[in-house]
């Protein structure tokens, strides 16, 4: 479900993740709402997955709508690497 190199965005509420999904789907970006991987703490249990090729558009749209994720990770082999603080929102 999550391929190597994919990004996984964790939000801090079900409402934000649903809003983010709606926004990104309206823009026809290739994203998928997925169960948050067990290894990554997510209050709402959901996350948005996207690939590198749409990263700029996805994060640009989320930033413009004030919907940046709480945490962002990239799948790297069997683990997830947290992306730097510049992409996060408390």
């Amino acid at each position: 479900m999550i391929k190597d190199g994919d990004f996984v965005a964790i939000f801090n509420s079900i409402h934000r993740v649903m809003e983010a999904e709606r926004l990104l789907k309206d823009k026809q970006l290739k994203i998928l709402l997925i169960p948050a991987p067990r290894a990554l703490a997510a209050d709402c249990g959901l996350a948005i997955r996207y690939a590198e090729d749409v990263r700029g558009e996805v994060e640009g749209a989320l930033a413009a709508a004030g919907l940046l994720p709480r945490d962002l990770y990239r799948k790297n082999g069997d683990s997830f690497v947290k992306i730097g603080d510049e992409n996060e929102q408390a």
Binding site: M1, L33, L46
Partner: protein, 196 residues
């Protein structure tokens, strides 16, 4: 000697056929299958269930000899109680989980199906009825997940009447089509039925 030829079948049918054969097989099971995904999926499935797989390359595919001596011995030594026999069945009667807002219900159902991939114990069969069949048709976001469950030995089946009603018969994208006879018979002989 039990023999099975699954050459030319598209995934996940080879896994489903092998699974059925293993459920009723006594002793060894010999399977002829194509290289590539069928070979990998059947091997992973059988080994994951504790069977041993001996493979031999043929001119047009592979021949597997699947043996599970431990399983056979255990079955003979301790007859399983009747209640423990039969498949575990999941009946999904809606494209939503629970009552409440439709959008939330759809998210929860999608989330549930995707989460099944993380489980060690999977149902033997999942039946989709009513709007549940929409989950197995083109355009559903869980098609990939359902096909992966199929590769792990879960038989994914959608109600034919329901597909017809929603005009989705031609766009079924995961699993196969079944009828109420099979659904009723399987549920009545099931070890347990999980209804969503």
């Amino acid at each position: 000697m039990n023999k099975l030829d699954v050459r030319g079948m598209a995934c996940p049918l080879p896994v489903v056929q092998v699974k059925r054969a293993l459920e009723s097989a006594q002793g060894e099971l010999h399977v002829l299958l194509d290289d590539g995904a069928p070979r990998e999926n059947v091997k992973r499935f059988a080994q994951g269930r504790g069977y041993q797989v001996h493979e031999e390359q043929l001119e047009d595919g592979f021949a597997f000899t699947i043996t599970g001596p431990g399983v056979t011995a255990a079955r003979e030594a301790i007859p399983a109680p009747a209640v423990a026999a039969g498949p575990t069945v999941m009946l999904i009667g809606s494209d939503r989980m629970g009552d409440g807002p439709e959008e939330l219900g759809r998210i929860l159902m999608k989330n549930f199906i995707m989460t099944l991939l993380e489980m060690n114990e999977l149902p033997d069969r999942i039946f989709f009825v009513n709007t549940g069949v929409l989950l197995a048709a083109e355009g559903s976001e869980v098609v990939e997940t359902l096909n992966e469950l199929g590769n792990r030995g879960v038989e994914v089946l959608s109600c034919g009447i329901c597909l017809d009603f929603f005009k989705k018969k031609e766009t079924l994208a995961a699993g196969g089509v079944t009828n109420m006879f099979t659904i009723a018979e399987t549920m009545l002989s099931a070890r347990s039925v999980v209804r969503l």
